[in-house]
Symmetry: C2
Subunit: 160 residues, 2 copies
DNA sequence: CCGTGCTGTGTTATATAATTACGTGAGCTC
DNA sequence: GAGCTCACGTAATTATATAACACAGCACGG
């Protein structure tokens, strides 16, 4: 799965595949992908961008869901705690996972111009964080690694 | 300067040194370390922990400052944009810089038990973020690298 | 000396993000 | 069918951050 957000790709396929995978994982693990949870995941999958909880809420409302904030936050809690989505701390926003398996250490590249977000993988204790932790005797449980900058497309636009 | 937050050290000295350095830097660069800005920096320096803007605001108020939110946010904007403090995205909070020079790429180790934060340095384009950026053709302008976990002291406590 | 522009501050109001609290109902177990 | 758990509906509240506007101090050039 998972072309990066910055490459052109068959996005309908990309959405469908992620949904099927989420359904399979839920079935395997006895998790309930309820309508609200499923719809929020679909909304996140529609674009490789991070959406705020209230953006999602607005989407749900225009679709007739008469939803209050907890609806979105509950769905997002479910999705993030089971690895179907991630929170992007630098944006107070959420993005669908493009790497399937639960429990990884995601890194994000966030374009400040077009807002697209692409995800890659790291080791929990790799890099500068890992070295600092080792030196300090710190046990890492979770990491936040995000870069803000310009994606290839927006770099090209800027140059023009 | 800058013992890590997880080592015992002469913290009065640590505060004083940071303040002197900030004053020197401001003098050199024609920046104005006004009373509000200075006091907020002092508050951040008091502990190696991240404080929310409203925590700082409360501190100012108990000291008689009759301060509204913009007071804190303006001071924090000044401090963060000139490298005297950093924003910890994972906590929506702020911490004094322990590495002097402006324009570095900080990494943070955040203890979820005692809340202390220690800072180390990275290269802007190093590690998994740098590799992902290179592969994608992404230009990194700024990074967020934070680890949540347990500091040595809290690890020891937990083991007991 | 006076106007002008700049920077920082005081204050009110508002916007945005997230959580608490409490009740309801569906499905399951025994 | 009583008791349990999980998810959801809803209202209210808290937490975080910014907008907008008035004004004071000060440097600069006339
Ligand atoms: Zn896609
Ligand atoms: Zn872009
Ligand atoms: Zn110290
Ligand atoms: Zn600790």
């Amino acid at each position: 799965m998972a072309r990066t957000a910055f490459e052109t790709h068959d996005h309908r396929h990309c959405i469908a595949e992620s949904l099927v995978e989420a359904e399979r994982t839920c079935a395997e693990q006895g998790l309930r992908l309820t309508p609200a949870r499923r719809r929020v995941l679909e909304i996140l999958l529609e674009e490789h961008r991070a959406l705020g909880a209230y953006d999602i809420l607005d989407r749900l409302r225009t679709e007739g869901w008469r939803a209050q904030p907890p609806v979105a936050y509950r769905a997002l809690d479910f999705l993030t705690s089971h690895g179907f989505a991630h929170r992007v701390e630098g944006l107070n926003a959420f993005v669908a996972c493009t790497h399937g398996k639960d429990g990884h250490a995601p890194v994000f590249l966030i374009c400040r111009a077009c807002n697209r977000v692409t995800e890659a993988e790291a080791e929990l204790t790799s890099g500068a964080l890992g070295r600092a932790a080792k030196a300090a005797g710190f046990r890492i449980e979770q990491t936040v690694r995000e870069a803000i900058g310009l994606c290839p497309a927006c770099l090209a636009t800027e140059a023009a």
